[in-house]
Structure formats: C-alpha cells, structure tokens
C-alpha cells in the first residue's frame, strides 16, 4: 500500500532548505551554524526562514572563522548535537582543513567509537556563475582522499533533499557539496516532508549501450546535452550521476562499464589526482571491468590550473563540445 506523497516543483536550493527544515523539525539536536546563515538566511538564501522558525539557539550566525565553525561543531557533535555547518563558499573551507582532516574524520577512530562526530559540512562549489575570484573552487578530491568523511554531491532538487536528509542522519561526518550553478537552474518534483536518498548509490540518468559517461554535480547538464547530441549521431551513451564521491558506487560503475566497454569521466575539478583518476583506477582494479574495456578511459576535467577569474571560466570548464568530442572519439575507436 502506497501513501500518496504530495510533491511540488522546487529548485535545488529550495530542496536544501526543505531538507534542513524537515530535520530541524524532526530532531531537536540538529543545529545550523555558519556565516550569515541566521538573520540573513545565507548568502544564497539556503537557510531562508529557518532563523525565524527555529530561533538563534539553533540557527547560529557565527563569527567569521571557518576553523572556529568546524572546530566548535566537532565539540557540539561529539556532545549530543548534529551540527550542519555551512561554509559560505567551498573555496573558503581551507582555513578549516586542519579541523576536518585531523579531527572531524579521526575522532571515532582515535577513541574506538567512544566519541563520534555526526556532522554535515555544506558548501556551494563550482564555477560558471561569474562569481568573484576564488569563489569557484571544485576541490572535492581533497576530501575523497581523506579517510573518515563521506562526500556527497547532488545534481537535482530531488536528490539534494533526500541526500541531505541522509547526510544529516549519517552517524559520521559528511561533506555535502552544492552545485552553485544549479541552485536555481530549474525545478523538479520533490516530495514534501521526510525521505532519503541513500549515500553511496549512483543513479543511471540515461540508459545506453555504447559508452558509459560518469559525472556528478554541476556537470550533469553538460554531460546530458553532449550525450543527446551524440544520440543524433546514433551513439547511445549511458549517463551515470555518481551522487556520492566517497564511497563510490562500484557495482553500478562496474556493470555499466562491462556493458559498454567505453568510459568517459567528466568533472570540473582539476585533472591530476581528481575523481576521474580514482574512477579510472577503480575500473582498472575490477578485473571484469578492466577486461571489458575496449578503449582507454577518457577524462574530461577542469585543467591543472587554478579556477580562473570569470572572464575565463567558460574556457576552464568542461564544455558540451569537449564531452561530445570524447564520445565521438570513443565511438570511432
């Protein structure tokens, strides 16, 4: 028996607000902390209305100090609360790096589970919105390399809400990256109230038999457009939205690769030691997938240069053409 769940069309950022709202309501231990998240409702309005609804004890404007935000969140988390710490832009997470890599991720292990850090770090990431300098980084690979934290990146409103709720309920630290470019890029049917999208599961967003394209976050629309273009040439790509970057959904990647034997990985983070490197290695590690490869795996990524000022950001970002080029290359291989 299925209960009718009401859905509405909302944007990705509204979905994020809803996820926090839902969890703030269900669980009194949930807190929101960050710069400008309270009275102002967040610089992107992700926390809009929450301050009014839950008050300053739960929606907390902090001083301007990322290490302070994460460090105190760790203390709150290991003493009974579930902090959702907002980092205003992903490019400003670095001052908190020590607190994340040395503490948030290690406290469970260091104390054999006596103390734990159930917290979510939310941050808008990525280029393409003409933001000021250093506001457009996409350094998720720094965090997938770091043991002890999960990394989640939604690409649509439905996943955003369900994954954020799952992240808040996760007993361990989760880095939740929000594609700034997709915050208001479109609306999608999203259920009211509580539901979860599981962490660690990718999704096939377009089935196909010729080429597997793996991507996530703000690159999904680019990839889909390239795949559609190639479809007109008769090339059927299977497009997978990874959704979680650590741990990766090995089974889904593997089964798709075994089907197509050809793989393109697309991300806007830098190439060297980026996610595409790990996924390439993962496919290589899985003997059946490796043996089914009919061509070298193709990486379409941000370049090994800093994310530029906005006049050059389109040149930096993987383009539809760049993905299409690789599709053609593999189709003809």
């Amino acid at each position: 028996m299925k209960t009718a769940v009401k859905t509405r069309e909302i944007t990705l950022i509204q979905a994020i607000t809803e996820a926090m709202d839902t969890m703030l309501e269900r669980d009194p231990s949930v807190l929101v902390l960050g710069e400008d998240v309270g009275v102002n409702g967040g610089v992107f309005r992700a926390t809009d209305g929450l301050y009014e609804k839950y008050g300053e004890d739960r929606i907390i404007d902090t001083p301007l100090a990322e290490s302070g935000i994460i460090g105190t969140s760790i203390g709150l988390a290991m003493n009974g609360f579930k902090p959702i710490a907002e980092i205003q832009f992903f490019g400003f997470i670095y001052p908190a790096f020590n607190q994340i890599v040395t503490h948030a991720t290690r406290i469970r292990g260091r104390t054999l589970g006596r103390f734990t850090v159930p917290m979510v770090i939310r941050a808008p990431y990525g280029a393409g919105v003409r933001a000021p300098e250093i506001h457009s980084d996409s350094m998720e690979a720094l965090f997938t390399h770091m043991p002890g934290i999960k990394v989640v990146v939604p690409s649509n409103p439905y996943d955003a809400k369900g994954l954020l709720i799952a992240s808040i309920e996760d007993p361990d630290p989760v880095l939740f990256l929000e594609p700034m470019k997709l915050y208001r890029a479109g609306r999608k049917e999203v259920p009211e109230g509580y539901y979860k999208v599981p962490i660690g599961k990718a999704a096939i967003v377009k089935e196909g038999t010729d080429i597997t394209i793996l991507s996530y976050g703000a690159m999904m629309p680019i990839v889909l457009k390239a795949a559609e273009k190639a479809e007109k040439d008769g090339i059927r790509s299977e497009v997978i939205d990874l959704r979680t970057l650590f741990p990766l959904d090995r089974e889904l990647i593997q089964s798709s690769v075994e089907k197509t034997g050809k793989v393109i990985i697309v991300h806007e983070g830098h190439r060297t030691n980026g996610l595409a490197a790990e996924i390439t290695a993962l496919i290589n590690d899985t003997e059946t997938a490796f043996l089914s490869l009919k061509a070298p795996i193709q990486r379409v990524t941000g370049f090994d240069v800093p994310v530029p000022m906005f006049s050059l950001e389109e040149a930096y970002l993987p383009s539809i053409e760049a993905v299409y080029d690789k599709i053609r290359f593999l189709a003809e291989y």
């Binding site: 102002n40 301007l64 370049f303 240069v305 050059l312 760049a322």
Partner: protein, 353 residues
C-alpha cells in the same frame, strides 16, 4: 579593561576639534583629501551602476568608507606596500593603482590585479584575513633589506575573527615588523554586526594581546585617519614596530551588489549617518568653514567623472580575455600536464581532432 577613546580631528560639522594638527593641515593637503574622496565616491557609484547594467560582475561598494581609505593611503609613502581587500579601491586608487585595471578586476579579468609598473600593490585579498600575513612578510623583507619601506594592510571587522588576524599581529610584534594593520570597522561582516562578531567593545584593544600600540580613530574623519596612519608609519620607519589602527566607519550600501542589506539592518540609519557623519560632506563643510573651499572644487566632479568614463571606455574596448592567462602563468615554465591541456583546448576550439 583598557580604554581606547576615538580620535577625532574634524567633527561631523566640519569643525576642527583637535588643534594639534592645525599647522599640518595645509591647503594642498586638505584639498587633496577632499578631491580623492570625491573621486573615490564617483568611481564607486559608477561601478555599482555598471554592475546593474551588466557591464561588470558582482561589485563590492565602499561608499561611506572614503575617509578611511583615502586618509590612510595618502599617509603612506609612494614606494610603500599596500595590501587591500576587495572593498578598498578608494585606497588603491589614491595610492596610484590603475582605474582601468580595477574596472577590469570586476570584469573578471586577470589584468585587474596587476598594479602599474613599480607600484607595490597586492591583488585584493579575497579569503578573509589571509593578507595580514602577506603584508607582514613583505614588510619583514624590507626590514631585512634594510630599507625604510613599510606596509599597510587593510581588513574589516569580520576579519578579526580569523586565525590569520591573530597570527599576523603576533608575527609582526615578535619580529617588530614595520607594518600597519589598518582595520575598517564598518559595523558589519556581510550581515553579522560587530557585536556578534566579537565580545570586545573595540578592535583597538586587541592590540594588547601583542603589547602592540592600538589606536581607535573616527574612520569618517579623513584627517584623523591620515595622522593616525602617518604617525604609525613614522614609528614603523624608525624601527619601532607595528601598529593596529581601528578606523570606525560605516558602509552605506550593500555588502556586494548581490546582497540585500534590508534583510539584516535598518536602512534608515544610513540616512542619519549621511547627514551627521558623512566623510565627504564633513570635509566639504570643513573646507568651507575654514576658507579652503574654492569654486573650482565643484567643477572637479565633472573632471573626475570624465576621467572615470574614459577608463570605463578603455576597459570596454579591451579585447576579450587572453586564453594564455589561463594556462601560462601558473608556473614560470608550464609543466607537461598544463601544456597538454592547453594544446587540447586549442585543438578543440580549432575543431580539429
């Protein structure tokens, strides 16, 4: 607790309230101060308009902070170092930065962070408070070279919460480095008021932690700012170490052009402040009151506007951003990954495979 009274030389009505600086307030100096503030304000308003018209990207306005920025920049020596934030174009312009380049900065262009040849101006600091350490390092280098060049570094009230603020002041005090920590306390860090940013009543008192001199000054009084910085600069040049200056000011506008200040503060306060404490208005009153006013100063606005318009035109007639700026300046010599990626980029653009 240590008390830091706010220094003032000219009050909101343009009256000289501190006689000690009378002789140093030459006609040239006060007119220069006034003009630079007018220029800065016109420039700032122009940028806000350009942003609204979609001719530049997000912009960070500084209207209301002209006295702090112009006064401090004028007090520095031409060959000194300046480390501004994204909001300090009033200071960098006064200090000799290129109008066109600043405009290009807000147009997302790398040229925007390049100062004119020979000018020691660092790119605007974006990650809050990180620049305090760069300024400290650069000034330390001057000390090691044995010059008497010094550095001034700008930062906001919000910046005082970051660890780098503390580390910068500590290094500077331990090594007695000739750097001026120039804080513009404009009451807000985006939406967060100073009272929520810190529990201390002043920023100046934070200098106690380093046995450093701390000074609190009316940041809307260009003269008070000028002499506070000048004295700190002389002290630094004499080898007597760093100073923390808190210039108490106010931004009239939004944090950036994407911000809506009515979400977090009562905007009527702006109008009150504009009447009673505006840096430009106050200086105009002062000039008039003491006979420095000259009708050609009225015409100066037209002159300044023309100069700004010329720069806007120059900015807008620049060719599109150079793709080599993306690839060729990461390293002195690009390693193969960058070279390969650049070639691949060009191959794709050329449509050849």
């Amino acid at each position: 607790m240590t008390d830091y009274p706010m220094r003032q030389i000219i009050d909101g009505d343009g009256a000289l309230v501190d006689d000690r600086y009378k002789d140093q307030l030459t006609p040239e100096l006060v007119v220069e101060m006034y003009k630079k503030m007018v220029f800065a304000r016109l420039f700032d308003r122009k940028c806000v308009n350009l942003q609204r018209q979609g001719r530049i990207g997000t912009y960070v306005p500084f209207e209301g902070q002209e006295a702090s920025q112009v006064g401090s920049a004028l007090a520095m020596r031409e060959d000194d170092w300046m480390f501004p934030t994204y909001r300090d174009h009033g200071a960098t312009l006064t200090f000799g930065h290129s109008l066109k380049n600043i405009l290009m900065y807000w147009n997302g262009r790398y040229e925007g962070a390049v100062p004119p040849e020979g000018k020691r101006i660092f790119p605007p600091a974006v990650p809050i408070a990180s620049q305090l350490l760069h300024a400290t390092g650069a000034a330390w280098a001057e000390k090691k070279k044995g010059t008497d060049r010094i550095a001034i570094v700008y930062f906001g009230d919000g910046a005082t919460s970051e660890g780098d603020f503390h580390e910068g002041l500590n290094f500077a005090s331990v090594f007695q480095i000739p750097v001026i920590f120039f804080n513009q306390n404009n009451g807000y860090a985006i939406s967060v008021p100073t009272t929520r940013q810190m529990h201390s009543r002043t920023i100046a008192q934070k200098a106690v932690a380093y046995d450093m001199e701390g000074i609190r000054v009316d940041g809307n009084d260009v003269c008070a700012v000028y002499f506070a910085v000048k004295e700190a600069a002389e002290k630094a040049r004499r080898g007597e170490g760093p100073t923390l200056i808190e210039a108490v000011t106010w931004r009239y506008g939004a944090h950036t052009t994407s911000d809506d200040p009515s979400k977090y503060r009562d905007q009527s306060e702006n109008e009150l402040r504009r009447k009673t404490a505006d840096p430009v208005g106050r200086m105009e009153k002062f000039l008039k009151r003491y006979g420095y006013w000259d009708e050609h100063l009225k015409a100066y606005e037209t002159e300044a506007t023309a100069e700004i318009e010329t720069a806007v035109k120059a900015m807008e007639s620049e060719p599109a951003a150079d793709i080599s700026h993306l690839f060729d300046y990461v390293f002195a010599a690009s390693p193969w990954p960058i070279e390969d990626q650049k070639a691949d980029y060009h191959r794709l653009k050329g449509g050849v495979r």
